[in-house]
Symmetry: C2
Subunit: 180 residues, 2 copies
């Protein structure tokens, strides 16, 4: 699923500027399962415009900042999005530095591991709090479903870290001597 399709998906929920699309992947409802930076979004918006899948409207009533471009999805764009959504999904891709480090946990100083897991647990709790707060009654079913799935996964990860952290830290090098 390329960034063009991702932008189409965001714009199908309402018009937005490139900056606002980015925010959806940074803090908004897409943040937990997809990512896209400016370096991908602006080229994607240009190509989508060329193909007639979206249309740009220069911000009205704002003479002082003419740069602002609000993008809206077209009928052709909605059809293209729907076709993309019907295709078989590619396998998930995860890149987790935390997990990679934990894999070698028994070679690291226990104090460092302790701090690493504390930070991770704090992150999960912050995310769970934030997600609990944004469950409004007017939320579309798909968004609620995805939010619930994310909550369940983060909760499971946090629970595991709490109940199993001692197994990893207890197995780490007993003194703060050199690893391996």
């Amino acid at each position: 699923m390329d960034v063009k399709t991702l932008c189409l998906g965001v714009l199908s929920c309402g018009s937005a500027t490139g900056y606002e699309i980015r925010k959806q992947f940074d803090e908004g409802p897409f943040a937990h399962f997809y990512d896209a930076g400016y370096g991908s979004i602006y080229p994607a918006l240009r190509r989508l415009s060329e193909d007639g899948l979206i249309e740009a409207v220069d911000a009205p009533g704002d003479q002082q900042r003419p740069d602002r471009k609000v993008y809206a999805i077209t009928v052709k764009g909605r059809a293209t999005l729907l076709a993309e959504l019907m295709r078989d999904p590619a396998p998930d891709k995860v890149r987790s530095d935390f997990t990679f480090i934990a894999f070698f946990g028994h070679r690291l100083p226990p104090a460092h591991l302790d701090r690493l897991i504390d930070t991770r647990l704090a992150l999960y709790r912050r995310m769970l709090d934030q997600m609990k707060g944004c469950d409004t009654p007017d939320m579309p079913p798909g968004e609620r479903f995805v939010l619930g799935l994310g909550t369940a996964v983060y909760r499971a990860a946090a629970d595991y870290l709490e109940t199993h952290r001692h197994e990893l830290i207890g197995a780490a090098l007993p003194d703060d001597e050199a690893a391996d």
Copy 2:
């Protein structure tokens, strides 16, 4: 965490060819939380060799296939890996087509959603089975910890899909008419 560090991590568990390193990310213990293709691994191995962090040994006793190069981590390589593991981990990056599609689930035909979730559940069950089977007593603590974390997360996701799928499918367009 770049592919150079990932290769260093794999090689710190034992010497391997580029092909074998790839397999570790495809089917092996790293498959669930990191990924790396040939197009990244071979250039990374070349740079690691140039920097003296790994050493290549042409396969001994195999005159018929001289291409095979077995890479081994050096002392300098181990030190570099340890320094990388002590750095603050970058935030996780997830790219999940399945979740993106589910976000728009209420705009899709119920039959399609049903098939999508069935396939996903089958995937989770296959992974959980495979992970259960590879828990041997001689596994290092870090690897066991990471395996347990992955199991907990997949199980939570599968449970959620089973118990909440009707909420999404029930909310989808009641007939198989056009979306939106």
